[in-house]
Symmetry: C2
Subunit: 333 residues, 2 copies
């Protein structure tokens, strides 16, 4: 299996990206990596490491798409960027079915939608991160930003696609699905949420528990939360912002509470480490764009080597499990 | 000044509600309270306390609206409920301009919209909680659920109303406003967010900093976050759910990390207390429904005496500051 990896996406590329790729190769043996980006610089970085040369190919892509570029314009004009070249490789090289990038979310989504084919029957692809939930569980949030304006039928498909994804990553077949709304009662939400509720409730392929409030996304009660891309994005980022604020509050409060608090902190260090690890994006890989005939993983722009490694291993794992086929099967069941 | 207080709203009424009312009277002297609910039971509760009898009036309201009732039906049929009777008192008794309730959000919003007049020029009232933000700041989130479907002009008014509210509670005149969207760049968001952006950006009365992501709501960067009621509700509850999950994670992690972690916890107890206090809804009062000719404060359904007390003091304080007049002024400036 070949994984195409954007060595020039994100704030810490290519140094951390190349390092992450080498670390991923060391961790598992069942894939090779196609590194895409400015060739000379990538080779210079690779020289720092010992690695299996048969498992890394470098493809030149001299142009760079930044977060300041307009996604649509950038994808159209920068044909030699790592994002455009990388995604095209998925179509051109047999055995390539995953692209991993920490580049501009807008550009990755735009390019993927333009350059890759939709999987049979899919109305619109959706972006799905996996979040840590209570009780050591995981929850798939689908969509978190690929579709800002949605139709009810799209949400119903997200429920199916999310079910396939949750099955693939959990080995659990009984996937519970909730629909993100502003209250649990039937009839809560915008008109498209209410219509989506009716469609999802009638679909036997979905184990639908009804509306779920944003308060309960991380409760472990459901395995999949279906959302329109706008609300899903807001739920994801509100959660992220609150977690960061709390860690900051704890830190400030420890600093302001004298020696006693500092001693307490020393004792509790393993606890804080554990919590940071649970919440850490770096360990959780990236969000997967689902619904195309190839897989695209978008990792955090601030990814470091550890996070790139996690995303590449995630790519290997979902490709190995045949996620694309599973998404197609559930849609045509 | 008279504050009308629903003694039968929420999970812990009337015991905690009556206690909260007595505590509020002790804390400040510039208001009296009209307690609404089942008269005999309220009198029985009041008998437990020493209080200034001139400052409490009890009005009988034998019916109870529960969270299971359909808001619209309940408001129409239960004319003798504490919510309906209480809101009508605002129109009937001179000097009454605030109603405080921990009852069903749907019923309180429905009844307020039906029974009270809109303030001049207001398209739709909005529900605005105040959240704790970094750097000991506060942020007004408007709307968080009163208007699930919105028009751009409504969002522009929320920016103005939110500015008036933030001024009243902070004594700061330079109120910064952000619009909740799925990215900072101009042009991000649903069509109604994009249209609202243009209207708000052109309004000289608003100190508009542009779009804000949900990640930055609690950053202290803005004083007001404008949102449609659906997204605002999701941001609020995602934040609440994440804070709860983190506290749970910390607790579980302390329990699982042996004696060392438990000692650390003892040392850090003041820190955790401080954090809980910052995040605690019980100290922060309730969300204010703004845009009507009277003020309505909706407190958490799980409110206890301390929280009821905080909400009554909040009511006294915003009424005293002439918030209704300030909202009207900014809209007609």
């Amino acid at each position: 299996m070949k994984i195409v990896f954007d060595a020039f996406g994100g704030d810490n590329s290519p140094i951390e990206a190349v390092k992450g790729a080498v670390l991923a190769l060391e961790a598992r043996r069942n894939f090779s990596i196609v590194l895409v980006g400015q060739q000379e610089i990538i080779f210079n970085e690779l020289r720092k490491y010992q690695y299996d040369k048969d498992r890394i190919t470098v493809i030149d892509a001299p142009e760079i798409i930044s977060n300041d570029d307009s996604p649509v314009l950038a994808v159209r004009k920068k044909k030699n960027s790592s994002i455009v070249v990388g995604l095209k490789l998925l179509n051109d090289i047999p055995g390539c079915e995953v692209f991993v990038s920490a580049g501009s979310t807008g550009a990755v989504l735009t390019a993927a939608t333009l350059l890759l084919k939709r999987a049979p029957g899919v109305i619109r692809p959706a972006l799905a991160p996996v979040l840590p939930a209570s009780g050591n569980k995981q929850v798939v949030l689908i969509d978190c930003g690929a579709n800002v304006e949605v139709k009810p039928e799209m949400l119903a498909q997200f429920a199916l696609i999310g079910t396939a994804y949750a099955r693939a990553i959990s080995n659990n077949q009984e996937i519970k699905v909730g629909l993100l709304s502003n209250g649990r009662e039937v009839g809560k939400g915008t008109s498209f949420i209410k219509d989506a509720y009716d469609i999802i409730a009638q679909d036997d392929r979905i184990n639908f528990i009804g509306n779920i409030e944003a308060r309960d996304i991380l409760s472990g009660e459901v395995d999949v939360v279906v959302a329109d891309g706008f609300s899903g994005n807001i739920a994801l980022k509100a959660s992220e912002g609150t977690a960061l604020m709390m860690l900051k509050l704890i830190k400030e409060s420890i600093l302001n509470n004298g020696i006693r608090a500092k001693i307490g902190y020393l004792f509790l260090k393993p606890v804080f480490k554990e919590i940071k690890k649970t919440l850490d994006y770096n360990d959780n890989g990236g969000a997967v764009l689902l619904g195309l005939d190839k897989l695209v993983i978008k990792t955090h722009g601030s990814s470091k080597a550890k996070s790139f490694k996690a995303a590449i291993l995630q790519a290997a794992s979902i490709a190995e499990k045949g996620l694309i086929t599973q998404v197609s099967s559930i849609l045509t069941e």
